[in-house]
Amino acid sequence: VLVFTRRRQEAIRIGDRIEVRVLRVGRDGVRIGITAPPDVPVHREEIYEEIRQANRAAVAVTPQVDLSALAERLRQP
């Protein structure tokens, strides 16, 4: 892991397309601005992780629920 000390308004460049800039430093948090090309997905880690977990849980789905009944109900307008 690379560790840098950065002050407010200082930045780090990753390659030639990504910039990570410290915008504000508070007591409990740091506000960070990320500039990246559109093809580089940027997500808060906990959101990505939450969706990853949800997908993992979903893949095992062998519902002990009557899917026909659900399908039937969903067919009603």
């Binding site: 093809d39 990505y48 969706i51 997908n55 993992r56 789905v61 629920v65 969903l74």
Partner: protein, 152 residues
Amino acid sequence: MARTGAALPNPVETQVTSPDVQAGLARNAIAFPDGIPGFEACRRFVLLSADSLAPLRRLEAIEGPPAAFLGIDPRLVMDSYRCRLSDNDMRALGADADSTLLWFAIISEADGVLSANLRAPIVINPQSMIGRQVLPDDGLYPIRHVLATGKA
């Protein structure tokens, strides 16, 4: 618990895969260039449906580790469902404003309760046969929107 004989088509990996079946799967393959979070190695999927279980569908990986998701068009479980795709999502899907896209909310089950992930739907462009899971950072919709409990 009552279960009927209705089932979605057998998982691809358990089917007898003749060359014909293989060719059919390849023809109907939907590319997921970025995979799906948790299944980054699955880059090609097929979308299966069965009349008895419509409008439920099954999205199944035909490449990479075995993975299959049960899902439904989110607009069928929430009338008011609206999700705006980012320019980047549109570009990745090879879609423009006129494209008709296919939406698929992944269904999961916990303790007999079925819920649909309305927060991060899978979007497929049938013209380009490209799909991706959209991950809005500030989603309006729940990851677990309850569809049904086990008690019929």
